[in-house]
């Protein structure tokens, strides 16, 4: 179920500014691959090219053996490439269950049939069940009838993760899932991601080094849009250049 992701020579420019400099990555199925780098290294831009928000100027993105470079966000999502956003993006006016059920159903349904214009969304037993499983998996314990817009910050992030999980992903792109969280909340998310490891391929962009080092199978260090080094946590920890450029600035 877990799929592979590969990029070949991705290049992205904003005018004359080179933001992604010939990035070639290989994400193995089932691994948890973290991408770290100083602020401004171009991590979010890279993620945007993986999920489809941005089209690279040069280079290709391969997902599950297929070239998805020209594919839209929704097409990649239907293929199993799901993403969570740095700034939480959910349906504020819908309930928790409605959010997750819509995610579960949307990815399954194409094309639409007449039922979809009449029967209630929440009447679809299969979609609801998948939604509830995903909500549980994401560790969200609120009343599923609660309005998404009224949830606390951490719960909203969990809901977003639940939506990604409900959509039957084979690869999860997580853009700073622990941003803005307390130490305790971060630990909870780390534990959660540990559970998801292996089941899905996970690409994790994060600043929280504790989490990164305890979770990642491999880590890629991005500096000025270039891949500086890819290796296991041990190799990263001991790599002199990496230490100088990045880890030296952060308290590990």
């Amino acid at each position: 179920m877990a799929a592979a992701l590969k990029t070949e020579g991705l290049v992205m420019r904003y005018g004359s500014l080179l933001v992604t400099d010939s990035v070639s990555l290989e994400i193995r199925p089932g691994e948890l691959h973290a991408i770290i780098g100083p602020n401004g290294a171009g991590k979010t831009t890279l993620i945007n090219q993986l999920s489809g928000e941005l089209r690279p100027v040069e280079g290709r993105v391969h997902f599950d053996g297929r070239d998805v470079t020209a594919h839209s966000i929704d097409r990649r999502a239907r293929a199993g490439l799901l993403r969570s956003y740095q700034i939480t993006s959910i349906f504020e006016e819908f309930t928790v269950l409605e959010n997750a059920t819509l995610a579960a159903l949307a990815v399954a349904r194409s094309p639409w049939n007449f039922k979809d214009f009449w029967h209630p969304l929440l009447g679809d037993a299969a979609a609801c069940a998948a939604a509830e499983v995903a909500i549980g998996l994401a560790g969200l314990t609120t009343d599923t009838d609660a309005l998404a817009g009224e949830l606390a910050y951490g719960q909203r992030r969990q809901l977003e993760l639940a939506m990604a999980l409900a959509a039957k992903p084979s690869l999860l792109l997580l853009d700073e899932p622990m941003a803005g969280m307390s130490a305790q909340e971060s630990l909870a998310v780390t534990a959660l991601l540990k559970q998801l490891k292996g089941r899905y391929t996970i690409v994790l962009v994060e600043h929280d080094m504790d989490a990164v080092f305890s979770l990642a199978d491999r880590i890629t260090v991005l500096v000025y849009g270039r891949v500086m080094f890819t290796g296991t946590p041990e190799e990263i920890r001991n790599h002199p250049e990496v230490r100088a450029v990045y880890l030296g600035e952060e308290a590990v």
Binding site: A77, L82, E93, A106, L122
Partner: protein, 337 residues
């Protein structure tokens, strides 16, 4: 729907109004005041048109300033065949639905390539285009419009030219439409559409193309509005380019917002209130628009939720929390992806 939900003002009042509307023809005939039948027929027809717009605007967040186009096309779908002696109601119906669907598909596909502000202007421009096209058809009345010799006839002697038949048909259509929209609102398509208004990017992220959902809603909306146009033509026994005037599009938007955007019963309340206030003001002065205009400005300044929102606030216990935001009335998306 549970009994408790039924008893809430926001649901109960509209249902009572629906029932009341059914009694209008009986009461009007008894009182010998037949004017009321045509007055309320007009309200029913505009409620249908407003419901259609509500699909695109209230649910989908698409500010279409050109829905009068579909109202007009629907009425000409009756007038043009009638001018050639074709009075089959089924043909009128088919033509109305068909033409409006195709036009809505074209207009929607082009307009949805742009963002919020441009979308408004472009839909306005397309309606204007339709207006000029019809005005230029001199052989079909042009500026003066086209009288309808034979109104829509269906089987078993059902003729929409008859005022009671028309009233009943309009009421029935509105009732069925309202019932369907209530279901649609909670259906996968309806939820996806409402989701696209709230957060288009999130819709993409779960594997749907928001533009496609919105286009489908726009086509549905246009087709249903065409039905209202068909009824309008039968009511007036006349089709006129003035139906496509931009002010008509504006009136429809006011009705949707006044009633309560994105709600099920909003369009009915909006049409009732709009045409009711208009009629009331007309009885005082021929210059009623000088009062009506500022009223609309006031409505815009005071914020939305509309009449349904008002009824919903009546439902809240007085002591408890502050009035909650009425559903779907919070954000009209400025741009879609």
């Amino acid at each position: 729907m549970s009994i408790s939900k039924l008893m809430r003002p926001a649901t109960l009042v509209p249902l009572i109004l629906f029932a009341g509307l059914l009694a209008v023809p009986i009461l009007a005939q008894a009182a010998g005041e037949l004017f009321w039948i045509s007055f309320f027929t007009r309200i029913l027809i505009y409620a249908i048109a407003a419901s259609a717009l509500n699909l695109a605007l209230g649910f989908g967040g698409l500010v279409s300033f050109g829905h009068a186009l579909f109202l007009g096309l629907g009425s000409y779908a009756v007038a043009l065949p009638a001018a050639h002696g074709i009075d089959s109601g089924w043909l009128h119906l088919l033509l109305s639905l068909g033409v409006c669907s195709v036009v809505a598909l074209a207009v929607g596909a082009i307009s949805l390539r742009t963002s919020g502000m441009s979308f408004i202007m472009i839909t306005l421009a397309f309606a204007q285009m339709g207006y000029f096209l019809l005005v230029s058809l001199k052989q079909y009345g042009g500026d003066d419009g086209l009288a309808i010799a034979t109104t829509s006839r269906f089987a078993a002697g059902v003729d929409l030219g008859g005022s009671l038949t028309l009233y009943g048909s309009a009421w029935l259509l509105l009732a069925l439409l309202t019932g369907w929209i209530a279901k649609l609102r909670q259906s996968p398509f309806g939820m996806a559409l409402r989701g696209a208004r709230q957060n288009a990017r999130r819709v993409q992220a779960i594997g749907l193309a928001p533009r496609r959902v919105q286009l489908a809603a726009f086509v549905l909306s246009g087709a249903i509005c065409g039905l209202a146009g068909m009824l309008l033509a039968n009511m007036n026994a006349y089709a006129s380019p003035s139906t496509l005037a931009w002010t008509v599009s504006g009136d429809l938007i006011v009705m949707v917002v006044l009633g309560g955007m994105g709600t099920v019963f909003g369009p009915l309340l909006g049409a009732l209130a709009f045409l009711g206030v208009e009629e009331w003001l007309k009885s005082y002065t021929e210059h009623w628009m000088i009062i009506f205009g500022p009223l609309i400005v006031l409505m815009a300044l005071l914020g939305r939720g509309g009449l349904i929102g008002l009824l919903q606030r009546l439902d809240q216990p007085l002591a408890a929390k502050a009035a909650p935001a009425p559903p779907d009335a919070v954000v009209v998306q400025k741009g879609h992806v």
